[in-house]
């Protein structure tokens, strides 16, 4: 295996193939000093780190995450810290929701001995009021098993000291007693939970509009930071900030990011905020952000990730060779900077230094070429060199497949709000994203020549929340501020049979001219892949032969590949004049059949028709017209079943 091939680090939670501590050492030490400043002064601060694409921003986060990772059980006398890494692939209007979800998921991630960062917070909080000698974990285990009432009293005391609201108090108690972890994680992430799950958790979920949910996310993040306390400072790393922007004129993205950093900076006392951006974006961030936000973004420093000098490059190559498990040619041991040639060095160091990504890519290419030439006399038919189109096609297929596997209804709103403007602008470049304060439940407004289309993503699992949202949406649709309203439903979260009011509101909306659309999981996965790759491209993290692929190149390639399904879906939303593909009656039936099959995934066709109160022929007809949702088995047709994606099925 080529030891130089992995030149991009996509996630700092991964362990890198090798690390050269002397590379970016001063910047890394500044991060540690920033953390020490937070711990000592009990004040939050921020670092802005910038570098060219491929300079090692995510690698730096990985080194920091690795340094902060616990190597020993939690104890009060050790300087511990928490780590959160947020890749800002979202819409600026959902930025706090993205931070909330990532923070909660990172803190639930199992670390050493299956303990999570949330567990560490708990141990530290307990130790503050009940001094324990030595490691906290055995003490906690003992309390959990032998003195659960005593433990509950301690939790009550923590809640009282921190003035936690009832919901947070209950959540902390569940955390302490390891109850309903999956639902608790979803609740803390802000996901819509069914009534039964909320009842089990004994928690509430407010039925609120978009801005309130964003505000709720902000309050939750600040409350969780407060819960961690000054003993456990938190590093929050923001990566791919560029992905927030929909274009170079997008001031909303810069404003939202500036506000996020300023709020975290001023409203917490234990956070080190590290924003890592490309150098070109850093100059825009500093030029175009509000002065107050800019000052806070770099309150502890504004640092560069310098490209590598020859000595650093030599060390990186050496470490990669050392980490290789394959036998290597003897020259690799004797020649400095092997496998690079003098010409490579002259080209790579033409401006004095080179980014790690460019260096590793050149080494990888040179390694392959040298390996080929050492194969004896045999003539080897080399495959034709890969083109950028081949690369994008391969990457695209891989990402779509991965997105299909991990697709989840909770992500539907974020996927659509972030990716729909990108996809729609590829079809109609003049489309703009608009905002209307009087339509708080319309998730996205696209404004074009033919008028404004509003898209409301109504995919709540909780029927009370869904009903409340549809009710508000109905009254907002009557204001006449949109040319067309599209209500997006997710077939995987059907309206339950008992949610009669929700059904009524949906029908009323349709009668009022709204289109109800059920995107297929494939369409959602494609949109998710599009936003992921475009975000990577905007942040310089999509590279071909060591060079970053420009967003424009990706957009042009994607415009040629646009699948019919996706194009049809996007057109159905943006074409204000076109009739909805799904008729009103179809939408109602899709919801009803989905609801039925959620309870019983496979049913006798006649029984199903009977329960739905429609003729069997009609049921067969609709199942045939929507094969991505339903299937029919038997000859003659006798069994109706719910279509499940292969990947989705594997997950369940």
């Amino acid at each position: 295996m080529n030891p130089f091939r992995e030149a991009i680090m996509a996630d700092p939670w991964e362990t890198p193939r090798s690390d050269v501590p002397t590379i970016h050492q001063t910047v890394f030490e500044q991060c540690l000093q920033g953390l020490e400043y937070v711990r000592r002064n009990k004040r939050s601060t921020a670092l802005l780190i910038h570098g060219a694409a491929g300079s090692g921003k995510t690698h730096l986060f990985s080194r920091l995450r690795s340094r902060l990772a616990p190597t020993m059980p939690t104890a009060t006398d050790r300087s511990e810290a928490l780590f959160v890494w947020v890749r800002l692939q979202t819409s600026p209007r959902m930025i706090w929701r993205m931070v909330r979800r990532t923070l909660v998921n990172d803190w639930f991630r199992p670390l050493t001995d299956a303990r999570s960062q949330f567990d560490r917070i708990l141990f530290h909080r307990l130790a503050q009021i009940r001094v324990a000698e030595g490691d906290l974990e055995p003490w906690y285990e003992y309390m959990l098993q032998e003195h659960p009432d005593g433990l509950r009293e301690l939790i009550d005391q923590i809640a009282s000291n921190l003035a936690l609201d009832r919901n947070t108090h209950v959540a902390l108690e569940h955390l302490t007693f390891c109850r309903h972890r999956r639902d608790l994680q979803a609740w803390l992430c802000g996901d819509s939970l069914p009534e039964a799950a909320l009842a089990r958790l004994d928690l509430e979920q407010a039925d609120e509009g978009d801005e309130e949910r964003e505000d709720q996310a902000r309050r939750t993040v600040l409350m969780l930071c407060q819960l961690a306390g000054s003993e456990l400072p938190i590093v929050i790393g923001f990566d791919q900030v560029e992905a927030l922007e929909s274009g170079s004129e997008d001031r909303a993205a810069l404003f939202a990011f500036g506000q996020l950093v300023s709020t975290l900076h001023d409203s917490t006392s234990n956070v080190l905020i590290i924003s890592a951006v490309q150098s070109a974006f850093a100059t825009r961030l500093l030029d175009d952000s509000r002065i107050a936000d800019r000052d806070r973004m770099a309150s502890f420093g504004n640092l560069s990730l310098s490209p590598l000098e020859q000595t650093e490059a030599g060390e990186l190559i050496r470490q990669r060779l050392l980490a290789s498990e394959e036998p290597l040619p003897p020259e690799s041991q004797t020649e400095l900077l092997w496998p690079l040639s003098q010409t490579d060095l002259a080209q790579l160091f033409s401006s004095g230094s080179v980014t790690p990504r460019k260096l590793l890519t050149r080494c990888a290419d040179r390694f392959d070429a040298l390996l080929q030439s050492t194969v004896t006399d045999q003539t080897i038919e080399l495959p034709p060199a890969k083109t950028i189109d081949d690369f994008l096609e391969e990457t695209w297929e891989m990402v779509v497949e991965e997105k299909l596997k991990t697709s989840h209804p909770e992500q539907t709103e974020e996927i659509l709000r972030h990716s729909l403007p990108m996809a729609a602008q590829l079809i109609e470049p003049d489309l703009k994203v608009a905002h209307d304060d009087q339509l708080p439940d319309v998730s996205l407004i696209l404004e074009g020549h033919s008028g404004r289309t509003g898209v409301s993503v109504c995919t709540q699992s909780n029927m009370t929340s869904l009903t409340a949202r549809l009710k508000r949406l109905k009254s907002q649709s009557e204001l006449g501020r949109l040319k067309r309203l599209v209500v997006i439903r997710d077939g995987r979260v059907p309206v339950s049979p008992t949610a009669k009011k929700a059904k009524e509101y949906l029908q009323d909306l349709q009668k009022g001219g709204a289109a109800i659309v059920h995107p297929t999981p494939e369409v959602l996965a494609t949109l998710d892949a599009l936003r992921a790759l475009l975000s990577d491209a905007r942040s310089g993290d999509l590279a071909f032969h060591g060079d970053a692929v420009a967003p424009k190149t990706l957009e042009e390639w994607f415009a040629k590949q646009f699948s019919n399904n996706l194009k049809e879906f996007v057109r159905e939303i943006i074409d204000t004049g076109s009739p909805a593909k799904e008729s009103g009656e179809d939408s109602v039936l899709i919801e009803a059949i989905n609801s039925l099959l959620t309870r019983q995934p496979m049913m006798n066709l006649e029984d199903a028709a009977g329960e739905l109160g429609i003729p069997t022929e009609k049921l067969v007809d609709i199942a045939r017209r929507y094969p991505h949702f339903f299937g029919i088995l038997g000859n003659p047709e006798s069994i109706l079943f719910r279509a499940v994606q292969k990947a989705d099925h594997e997950n369940t």
Partner: protein, 372 residues
């Protein structure tokens, strides 16, 4: 031999296609007589070829171009005046370092076909309306409107800066003469803006005479002429005090106190702005010192955009870029590459450092070194 009067056979379809091919391959619109000359078919009368050309025009295959002169004949081509002329004129205006009038366009015109004044004026007007180029007022009442790649505001700025950089410090009235077509209010605003941005510098009126006037120059004024009278007075007073046996140390202390009270600092901590202004640029410049002067966080590796440093260096782009690359190769500074420079506008790209080989750098920083 007697000339044959036998009628010619009607023109074949092949001949017609050949005529069309001749026109299509031509580098400029052709008169029918020219088409006849260039055609390799059997010789046809010009009138007949003219008729065929007219048919092509009616069918929308060819476009008729106006005659070159009053006595000339109409010409034929498969491209329209607007489409061909528009692209060439747009390129010409975009490349011009100064605004151009219709007459200028005509002078600079290098395409094989010619356009009339009316056609050029109409194309320029259309391009300006579509926002591709900008209209600039005429120099005088009799000369025509001009067009440029930048708008009026940018042109005023450009004109004033050129005037100031190429001449010694001048009065406001003289500067106004360089942009006489600009109204007084906008002129005053522009002067104020350029002064605020430190692109030009006010030289206060020297002396108290009525003829003394404030001037504007491209560098701050030299202090010596302003301090001349004070120095003479001080010399007299110092001589008197020395003859009264005042100690040298006391004189020095009093002089420093007096100067500090007047706002002249002798401390080491002078402001970044003063330092930046004091950097004198000759053939070369110390980039490291310059970076320090514009970015207080330079030692920790803060990035300085190329645009900011170039403004502080006050050097031509080519010299600046070449020096930046030289400093980077020597390891004194680090250049940060822009990955998508191709997607930027020409103007934005011009702000970056270019190595002439397709690589562009957004800014530079000092290499952060580990202490000790």
């Amino acid at each position: 031999m007697a000339k044959s009067n036998a009628p010619l056979a009607p023109m074949s379809m092949e001949d017609r296609s050949h005529l069309l091919q001749v026109v299509r391959e031509a580098e400029e619109p052709l008169e029918a007589t020219k088409v006849v000359k260039l055609a390799k078919t059997s010789r046809r009368p010009t009138a007949e070829v003219e008729a065929v050309m007219q048919e092509f025009v009616q069918d929308g295959i060819l476009i008729v171009w106006p005659a070159k002169s009053a006595k000339g004949k109409p010409r034929y081509w498969d491209r329209s005046v607007t489409s061909v002329g528009s692209a060439s004129i747009q390129e010409l205006v975009q490349k011009s370092s100064e605004p151009v009038s219709v007459k200028d366009v005509k002078k600079l015109w290098k395409s094989p076909f010619k356009l009339s004044d009316t056609e050029i004026a109409s194309i320029l007007n259309d391009l300006a309306r579509s926002g591709v180029i900008y209209e600039i007022p005429a120099k005088t009442a009799t000369s025509g409107v001009r067009y440029w790649k930048h708008d009026v505001e940018e042109f005023c700025r450009h004109s004033l800066l050129t005037q100031i950089k190429t001449q010694p410090p001048q009065t406001k009235a003289k500067l106004k003469a360089a942009v006489k077509w600009l109204d007084q209010k906008r002129f005053d605003d522009l002067i104020e803006q350029l002064t605020r941005q430190k692109e030009i510098f006010l030289h206060p009126a020297l002396g108290k005479s009525k003829s003394a006037q404030a001037l504007w120059g491209h560098t701050p004024p030299s202090p010596e002429p302003y301090l001349k009278n004070i120095r003479e007075q001080l010399t007299t007073v110092v001589k008197q005090l020395q003859s009264a046996f005042v100690l040298q140390a006391d004189l020095r202390r009093a002089a420093v106190q007096m100067l500090e009270a007047s706002g002249i600092s002798f401390g080491a901590g002078s402001s970044a702005a003063t330092e930046a202004a004091s950097v004198r640029v000759a053939e070369t410049v110390d980039f490291v010192k310059l970076i320090h002067s514009v970015e207080p966080g330079a030692d920790r590796g803060a990035l300085v955009p190329a645009r900011v440093l170039r403004a502080a260096a006050k050097m031509p782009k080519a010299t600046f870029d070449s020096l930046a690359l030289q400093f980077a190769r020597e390891g004194k500074i680090v250049l940060h590459e822009h990955d998508f420079a191709a997607s930027l506008s020409q103007e934005a790209r011009d702000e970056l450092v270019s190595d002439g080989q397709g690589n562009f750098y957004v800014g530079m920083a000092l290499r952060a070194r580990k202490e000790g």
